[in-house]
Amino acid sequence: MASYHPQLELLTEYAAGCLSLAQSSCIAAHLNYCGECQRGVIQLQNIGAALFEVQDPAVAGDALLDRVLKRLDEAAPLCYSRPRRSEGATPALLQRLMTGDFSDLPWRKVTEALRISYLRTGDPNYEFALYHIKAGGEIPDHDHHGSEMTLVLEGGFSDDRGTYNTGDFIYRRANEQHAPRALPDQDCLCLAVLDAPLKFTSWKYRWMNPFLRLHAG
């Protein structure tokens, strides 16, 4: 049961379909853990539907109708059918971005406690990455030039503002500095969506910054 949720404005943009692909993926993954937000998003979609109904109609005449009628017998394209939502399982959307399991992904060691694996969403503006933090381990102090969405997939972490568990969603804006630490009893797996590379602020890790360019796409 999640206790940290996306803000209303993010859910609204998500429901309206105007949020970026990578950020939408992160919100969709949160909905997998959160029935409340899921029901809220369905209501927010109803706003779109109500506006859609009362638009001034454009002209779509019978020539267009005839073109569609001629195509009705086309076979429907094969379509991926979604598995039923199951509590605790890896969000279906993430599974579509990976082959195999989390353990099959190429992981890159950043520090003793932190490994990162980049997933490809096709969104050229955002990095979409999995962070694996060892139990009790810390991500060195860092800040962001851009925004950062984080979703806890397994375990949990804490920073100066709170403790976050599986399903929790955290959104940080540019230039907010923090040093998250995984909870002591379990390794933590998070999804992070960034629009600018993170930047370590502690002198010990600053030398790594040039290597942390944005892995978008």
Binding site: E9, T12, G17, F52, E53, V54, R67, L69
Partner: protein, 199 residues
């Protein structure tokens, strides 16, 4: 669109009968592959889908027609998945149109992605009759109350939902502070009684 220009008095559909006509069409399509029902549905929704395609965007008329075809073909192919107890027909058509438009924009921007907008749509998780009724009632309530929203709030909802603009883009276009845009959206959503259980 400027702020003072009021929309002409719109015929707000009554939540009862009129929506049912389109639900019936969808059921006829699903069960009998009824082309006459499809044509009726097309004449009602195609002009709305096209208006949605063209609103606030740079989409060409050709692409808008392409979108209408794509959405209406999906309506034909997926009619069996429509459940009149879950949602109004127009909500169902709108969601398909929104997804197809998002995908078309991404194709036009040459995104190479394994995901389609459909992957993001939340499924109604509960099939329990009470929850379904609640969700449908919320839809009806939103339709009724929308007419009473102040023009400045309507304008921003239209930017976000119909034109597909983010809050930041809407703020830039209307030359308003981002905070004002956000609070107008928040107020509108409150007035429409969209409730989050935690709130």
């Amino acid at each position: 669109m400027n702020e003072t220009k009021g929309k002409p008095a719109t015929a707000w559909p009554a939540p009862g009968r009129r929506t049912d006509e389109w639900s019936e069409c969808l059921v006829l399509i699903a069960e009998k592959h009824d082309r006459a029902a499809f044509s009726r549905l097309f004449r009602h929704f195609a002009p709305l889908i096209k208006a949605f395609a063209l609103s606030g965007s740079t989409m060409s008329a050709n692409h808008a027609d392409e979108l209408v075809q794509e959405v209406m073909l999906k309506v034909w192919q997926k009619a069996a998945a429509f459940n009149p107890e879950k949602a109004a027909a127009s909500t169902w058509v709108y969601t398909i149109a929104r997804n197809c438009r998002t995908d078309l924009f991404r194709r036009l921007q040459k995104f190479d992605t394994p995901l389609s907008a459909e992957d993001f749509s939340p499924e109604q998780e509960s099939e329990e009759p009470f929850a379904l009724l609640q969700s449908k009632r919320s839809g009806d309530r939103i339709r009724e109350m929308m007419a009473g929203l102040p023009a400045d709030q309507m304008q921003i909802l239209a930017k976000v939902y119909m034109e597909g603009k983010s809050h930041a883009e809407a703020a830039a276009e209307l030359d308003l502070p981002l905070g004002t845009v956000k609070s107008r959206v928040r107020l509108a959503i409150q007035k429409l009684q969209v409730q989050f259980e935690r709130a």
